[in-house]
């Protein structure tokens, strides 16, 4: 896997006004923290962060952060990010330093494969938990976990403990958490709703 590199520059101006001016120039504020070095405020290009988030590994991508004026790049991951509620532009990114020799918790998406028997019969596959937390070294994080749902029929449930994990991974999510559940088709739906329409709710207190 080729190493992704993100260039950043140190940021001294902090606060709402300064960050708005920074975004107007096409960059976004970011912060890097973790490890033995302290937290540092940075400015970087949102395009690079978007590319990483859209890549198959998404937030679990380990990349090199090159801060202007510093000799060696740091190995970091995107720990959190904020999006604008309307245009979904990235507003801020939290980067976390990664220690390649230290095991930690990571959120890995679950991918479903197969055409469930119950779905072919008209049932509905409820994908309850879309990511599982695993413990492993940073470079052992899988792109995703695969769960075969082909054999599932009405009423079947797969829990986190039943998801096959690659070697060197341990499940950190509670093993009883439901990942998928196959429900039978709904009976008569409430297309024409109960017309308790304008009944006033009971007033409590007042």
């Amino acid at each position: 896997m080729p190493q992704v590199t993100v260039a950043a520059s140190p940021r001294t101006a902090i606060g709402k006004g300064a960050n708005r001016r920074l975004r107007a120039t096409g960059q976004i504020p970011a912060v890097v923290y973790g490890g033995e070095r302290g937290a540092r405020s940075l400015a970087l290009s949102p395009g690079r962060i978007t590319e990483i988030l859209r890549s198959p590994r998404g937030e679990n991508t380990i990349f090199a952060l090159e801060v202007a004026g510093e000799a060696a790049p740091e190995q970091v991951m995107i720990h959190d990010y904020q999006l604008h509620p309307l245009d979904h532009a990235i507003l801020h990114a939290d980067l976390m330093r990664v220690d390649p020799d230290k095991e930690s918790h990571w959120h890995v998406p679950v991918h479903l494969v197969g055409d469930a028997v119950g779905v072919r019969r008209g049932g509905y596959l409820d994908f309850v938990t879309r990511t599982l937390t695993v413990t492993c070294l940073p470079h052992d994080i899988p792109v995703h976990l695969t769960l075969d749902v082909a054999a599932l029929d009405y009423g079947d449930t797969v829990r986190a403990g039943a998801v096959a994990l690659p070697e060197r991974l341990a499940l950190a999510t509670d093993k009883d958490v439901v990942v998928v559940h196959l429900s039978p088709p709904k009976g008569t739906d409430d297309e024409e709703t109960e017309e308790s329409a304008e009944a006033e709710p009971e007033a409590v207190g007042e």
Partner: protein, 140 residues
């Protein structure tokens, strides 16, 4: 029709609808969502009309989540009434939405069907809306 089971007070002041939505901005349950771009009141009748429009189009396949709840009573004074003499009587229930709020979510149907279902639903609503997918694919 959606409305609270119990309320502490029958009437409420109108308040303001400034700013963006601060919760419910992401598609959390399904694969697709309908996001409002404007602030506004959405009545329980409008929510129900949108729900019926979606349900009829997808013919009970897939799954639908309604992410807003009309918990605010709205009052109205009778016609041809002079001003004053107190606040009007409760006439309905509305959900207050601010820009960015996800109104509906769907899962279990192809994207093209979800787009059309949400388009039909949006015609029942008093606010401009946008179809959105799960967060990552919609990141600009």
């Amino acid at each position: 029709m959606l409305m609270p089971k119990k309320t502490r007070y029958r009437k409420r002041q109108r308040g303001r609808m400034r700013g963006k939505s601060w919760t419910g901005q992401t598609v959390a349950f399904g694969d697709f969502g309908l996001k409002t771009l404007e602030p506004g009141y959405i009545t329980n009748r409008q929510i129900e009309a949108a729900r019926v429009a979606i349900t009829r189009f997808v013919r009970r396949t897939g799954r639908l989540w309604i992410r807003i709840f009309p918990d605010r009573p709205v009052t109205r004074k009778p016609q041809e009434t002079r001003m004053g003499k107190g606040k009007g009587s409760p006439e309905g229930w509305v959900a207050v939405v601010r820009p960015g709020r996800i109104l509906f979510e769907m899962e279990g149907i192809p994207r093209e069907q979800a787009v059309e279902a949400m388009r039909l639903a949006s015609h029942k609503l008093p606010v401009r809306t946008r179809f959105v997918g799960r967060f990552e694919e919609e990141t600009r």
